[in-house]
Structure formats: structure tokens, C-alpha cells
């Protein structure tokens, strides 16, 4: 979806006094240094809620603030409600209103509805199809609901948005395939071992990429994690942070048969996992597969290891290629998702519009 900083739709603004709107700034048009200034932490959200509650004509509202977007969804019953909200927000953030207008996304009526549906479904996210935004949107709505800033319109709109997101996730491939290297590695491990809660993971190297991958494994249920590094102190430090075990580096080859997944991410100038060591390990665990993830550059694992039976070796290039292919697959699904969401948003809007008109008439 191409987001344009547009003025309110004149037709709707002129004929319907009360309307649904979205105002905000997203990663599409707003650079990160600006998004940083516009983002709201929980304390700021609570304070801003107090301010916005006093704005005349702002009948209902919900605030969403993530690393990629700060947005306000609301129901306004007068034409100057949205400008007032914008002013209040910019004052609160100590940000130029003129500059904000340059980056801002402002949509009304069915376009706002379609936008919300796309946000909930992950179509508007930087990583298309990611599902974290769904939870963030749910939290934002729950917070607004708890503060009683939502009403019959937003309650219905958000419930329908969540339903639409679930529908899209179920009936399209928009969330299929991971798009980050760490998550691709985890997904591959699941292709080999199924549930990961009983697998034992060894992390060789205590660098950032290894740490990220280890955390990705832990988030998918891995409970047995060991960290091994040439610097035992660093290994112990990371192990403590990850609630894992530290293993002396020299002991790692001998302990290899005890692990199902080995994440190699050292800064060693040459290979640290030899074919002979893996072959010896597989002799002791022949019936159980071994998954080796080589994230190091230069590589940590000797390439002939890949030829051993029941051993699966993936290096950084392999994982990046899979992530890229998944990204393309997701993007190919976007048009299909939009069509599904458009049908739903149009149906909802046809029900909402008379209610908005009757409320404004009242």
C-alpha cells in the first residue's frame, strides 16, 4: 500500500460530521530518527491519553506506538478534531507540527478501515507478514478499552480487524516462511526435530549473531542451551544472561554427541568443527540427526561435514537465501491479502456508515 500524506477525504468530511480516522507516522515515509522522536513509551501514552480525553469531538480513540509506527485511530465528530489531536500530540512530543504534517499519514472512512486491517494483518509492516504487530495492536486496543476511550464504533472496528487478520493468516501464505536468518535457522530445526523443547543446543562463540540465534531458539521452547567460547569468561557471562550452561571450548568436540543443534558463530580464522569430530559424534548418536548452523565468516564447519548421513549443515549464505525466498513469497501474497481485506472492510464500512451518520445527526 502506498501511503500518502493526504488531507481528509473531502466528500466524507463534508457530508458526514462524525467519521473514523487514522493519524500517524509510519516507517513508509518517516525516517527512523523522526520515528524515535514520535514514539511513545507506556508513561507517555498514559499522559497523552489524559490530554486527548479533553479534546472536544474526539468521541473514541486508540493509540498505537511501536518501533515502526505511532498511530491514532479514532472517531471524530467535528472537522477540527483531527487538527486538535495533531497539535496536542506534537506539543506533547515537542515536535514541529509543520514537520509532522510532512510525514504524517491521515486517512478517513473506508481507507482508514482498510489501513487498520492491513496493519493488523502485518501487510503494512516492514517485514511483511510478521505477526508481532497483531499482538501490539491487541495490547493497544486493550489499553484503550481499559481506559474507556473506545466506544461502539472502535470496539467493532478493532474486533473485525483482528478477525480479518486471523482470516488472512489462515487462508493465505502471508506468514509462511521466516524472513530473518535466526528464525530461518529455528524453522529448519523444527523441520528436523519437530518440537524443540527436548532438543539440546550448543552455541559456539559468544558474539551477537550467535546470541540472537540462541534467543530465537529459546523463544521457540529450547530449554537446554550451552555456550562455549574461547574466552570462558565471556561464555559464562552470556550463559548467565541466557540462563544457559557454560562449556570450556576445548571440551566442546568431546561433548558434541550430546547436542542436537550446534550454532557456530565464532570469530576464528579457520574451521573449528572438523569432519572427523562430527563423524565420531555421529558414531555415538547415529539414530539422532545433528543440525549444524554455521553463522561464522570465515566458516566454522568443514564443508564435507554436510555429506555425513543424518547431518544437516547450513551456512550463512544458505540461511540468507531461504530468508530472501520467503520474503519474495510473502510479497507475492500481498495482493491476494489486500483483496480479502478489502472485501471485509467494505462490508464493515457499509454497516458502520449509517451508524456514524445517525450518531452525528443525534
Amino acid at each position: 500500500m502506498t501511503l500518502v500524506a493526504t488531507p481528509p477525504q473531502p466528500s466524507l468530511a463534508a457530508t458526514v460530521q462524525q467519521t473514523l480516522f487514522v493519524l500517524g507516522a509510519t516507517h513508509h515515509r518517516t525516517p527512523i530518527q523522526v520515528r524515535e522522536k514520535l514514539s511513545l513509551d507506556p508513561g507517555a501514552l498514559a499522559a497523552l491519553h489524559e490530554t486527548l480525553s479533553t479534546i472536544e469531538g474526539l468521541d473514541e480513540f486508540t493509540m498505537l506506538s511501536t518501533c515502526n509506527r505511532t498511530e491514532f485511530y479514532g472517531v471524530a465528530s467535528s472537522a477540527d478534531t483531527v487538527p486538535r489531536l495533531r497539535r496536542a500530540f506534537c506539543e506533547r512530543q515537542n515536535f514541529s507540527e509543520t514537520e509532522f504534517t510532512r510525514y504524517a499519514l491521515q486517512l478517513e472512512g473506508p481507507r482508514a478501515l482498510q489501513h487498520l486491517f492491513e496493519v493488523a494483518s502485518g501487510l503494512d509492516s516492514q517485514l511483511v507478514g510478521e505477526t508481532e504487530i497483531f499482538g501490539q495492536l491487541k495490547d493497544a486496543y486493550a489499553a484503550a478499552h481499559a481506559r474507556r476511550s473506545t466506544g461502539p464504533i472502535l470496539n467493532r472496528v478493532f474486533q473485525k480487524a483482528f478477525q480479518a487478520a486471523k482470516h488472512v493468516r489462515t487462508h493465505t501464505a502471508i506468514t509462511e516462511g521466516q524472513v530473518s536468518v535466526a528464525n530461518v535457522a529455528v524453522e529448519l530445526a523444527r523441520d528436523i526435530f519437530g518440537q524443540l523443547n527436548r532438543t539440546r543446543v550448543l552455541l559456539l562463540g559468544a558474539g551477537e549473531i550467535g546470541e540472537k540465534t540462541a534467543k530465537a531458539f529459546q523463544s521457540r521452547g529450547v530449554t537446554s542451551l550451552s555456550v562455549s567460547s574461547r574466552r570462558l569468561g565471556r561464555a559464562m557471562e552470556l550463559a548467565s544472561e541466557l540462563r544457559a550452561f557454560a562449556l570450556p571450548f576445548w571440551l566442546a568436540p568431546a561433548k558434541l554427541p550430546e547436542f542436537d543443534i550446534v550454532v557456530c558463530a565464532t570469530a576464528a580464522p579457520s574451521t573449528v568443527v572438523a569432519t572427523a569430530a562430527v563423524a565420531a559424534a555421529m558414531h555415538r548418536r547415529a539414530a539422532q540427526p545433528l543440525f549444524l548452523i554455521d553463522l561464522a565468516l570465515p566458516r566454522d564447519v568443514e564443508p564435507p561435514v554436510a555429506d555425513l548421513p543424518n547431518v544437516y549443515l547450513y551456512n550463512l549464505d544458505d540461511l540468507a537465501t531461504i530468508a530472501e525466498a520467503n520474503r519474495h513469497s510473502r510479497e507475492a501474497e500481498v495482493a491476494k491479502c489486500r483483496e480479502l481485506l478489502r472485501n471485509r472492510s467494505e462490508t464493515l464500512w457499509s454497516h458502520l456508515r449509517p451508524r456514524l451518520e445517525s450518531r452525528s445527526a443525534a
Partner: protein, 282 residues
């Protein structure tokens, strides 16, 4: 409705399951587990009705000709799928099972000569021989399903080794799940075949001249092959691809052995009364 009509409908349900799965895969989607499971379950029930009617008509287990052997094997394989399918939620396994059941059921129905003649007094009125034959065929059902899971294991291994993870490879179950289910099916099939041979052996010991030696050798050979495979797998000496290939090759040999076994049965002179020379339905 006649037994064959029930079996035709059952075969068509299996075929619909296979075609729907093919259609889903062709469109890049995952076959519906629930739909395929329901179609197979429906086919299974109808096949059971058909086999029951045939059994009532012939007054025993319907294992009297090639048509009945194929029908019974398809039904056995489907039984194991329905048992394992509950815990092993794989639409792809259902898809392959639907394919196997459709091929066995419909091909045997489509070849009239396979059902033109039926050996009378097949088990000589001895229920133990009938039980032995049914167990043997039932173990073939387990081994047929094992062949499917072994084939899936090979596909999964290939996809992981060669980094071909997209398309319908992504619908395959995890490698360790496939290995586990294959190992269990091998154990169940081997146990059933062992029980079948044990029951048959009791009869053979009392009347050794009634059993054709070639048939006996074939049967024991197939059983021994599965026992060795089980043993090597348990010892961790036959794993991964080699295990999968072994399961497939042994099943192919077992199927091929059916021909000589069947012809050896025809070669024996018919006995109008008492136990026949059939120690097995194989």
C-alpha cells in the same frame, strides 16, 4: 447393493481424497488434513461394509483371490493410517495413503479376472489358518504404510540435504517424526507377521506336507528381512536414508514374492475336504 458396489464407492472416496490433495499441492497449498482424513475414514467404512458382505457370502475371511487380497491390504493400510493419523497430524501422509488405497482398491476392481475365480474351502474350515492369513495381510497393511512414511522420510532428507525447502516439501512432517512413526510401524508390522507365522507354524508342525516349501521359504525370508531391519534399526546401524531405503526395498521384495507364492498355491492338488494345503493366504 452388492459388495463390489460398496467397494467401488469406497475406492472413489479414496480417489477423491487423492485428487483433492493433488489439486491443493498443484495450487501451492497444503491439502486439508480434516477433509482427507474424513474421505479416507468414509472410504474405510464403506470398504469394511463391502468386505463384510463378501465375507458373509463366502463364509469366511475374504482372502480367496487377488482382488480380495488387494482389497484387504488396502483396508489394512487404511486402518493403520486412521490409527496413526490421529497422533501424527500430517495431511501429506493422508494424501499418500489415499493414493495407495485408491490404486489398490480401484485397480483390483477394474481387472475383472482377478475376481473371476475364487478358491473354495481356502482355509479348510480351520479358523486358526484364517486368523494366520488375516494377520499376515494385516502386517502387509502396516508395511505398506511404512513404505509411504519411509518414502516421505527420503523426501524430507533430500529437501534438507539439498536445501529445497519450498513448495510442497514444506508440507512434509519433521524428520524425527517420520523416523519415529516408521520405526513404530516397522515394529508393529514385524510383530503382526511374527504372530501370523507363529499361528501358521503350529499348523505346519502338525501337517508339514501340506505347506509348499517355496512358499514357506518366501514367507520366512520376508519375515527375516523385516526382523533384520528392525534389529539393525534398534542397534542404530540402519538409520536415516539407508533405513528408509531398506523399508522400501523389503516391501517391494515382499510384494514380488506374492506372485511365486500364489502360483505355488495353484500348483498344489485341490483337496475337497479337511485342511487345505494353504498355510497362508499369501
Amino acid at each position: 447393493m452388492s459388495d463390489r458396489e460398496w467397494l467401488w464407492i469406497a475406492g472413489e472416496l479414496y480417489l477423491v481424497g487423492f485428487l483433492l490433495g493433488t489439486w491443493s499441492l498443484w495450487r501451492g497449498g497444503r491439502p486439508s488434513t480434516v477433509l482427507i482424513h474424513c474421505l479416507i475414514a468414509g472410504g474405510y467404512v464403506l470398504q469394511l461394509v463391502g468386505l463384510y458382505l463378501r465375507g458373509v457370502a463366502v463364509g469366511g475371511c475374504p482372502l480367496g483371490n487377488t482382488f480380495e487380497l488387494f482389497q484387504f491390504t488396502a483396508w489394512s493400510a487404511t486402518t493403520f493410517y486412521l490409527i496413526t493419523g490421529v497422533s501424527f497430524r500430517s495431511s501429506i501422509l493422508g494424501y499418500f495413503t489415499a493414493c495407495l488405497a485408491a490404486v489398490l482398491t480401484l485397480s483390483s476392481l477394474a481387472i475383472p479376472t482377478w475376481d473371476a475365480v475364487r478358491r473354495a474351502n481356502l482355509f479348510g474350515g480351520n479358523p486358526w489358518i484364517e486368523f494366520h492369513a488375516a494377520l499376515a495381510l494385516f502386517s502387509y497393511g502396516a508395511f505398506a504404510l511404512l513404505t509411504l512414511t519411509a518414502f516421505m522420510l527420503l523426501l524430507r532428507d533430500h529437501s534438507l540435504k539439498h536445501k529445497h525447502l519450498g513448495g510442497w516439501f514444506s508440507f512434509l512432517p519433521p524428520l524425527t517424526d517420520l523416523d519415529q512413526i516408521s520405526t513404530r510401524l516397522l515394529a508393529v508390522g514385524t510383530a503382526l507377521m511374527t504372530a501370523s507365522l507363529a499361528v501358521g507354524a503350529v499348523y505346519w508342525v502338525s501337517a508339514p506336507h501340506t505347506v509348499n516349501l517355496a512358499k514357506l521359504m518366501m514367507t520366512v525370508g520376508v519375515w527375516a528381512a523385516y526382523c533384520v531391519t528392525s534389529l539393525l534399526r534398534a542397534k542404530g546401524l540402519l538409520v536415516s536414508r539407508r533405513f528408509a531405503w531398506a523399508c522400501i526395498v523389503v516391501f517391494v521384495i515382499a510384494l514380488l514374492s506374492l506372485g511365486p507364492v500364489d502360483s505355488s498355491r495353484h500348483a498344489l492338488p485341490p483337496k475337497p475336504q479337511g485342511p487345505t494345503t494353504e498355510a497362508s493366504a499369501r
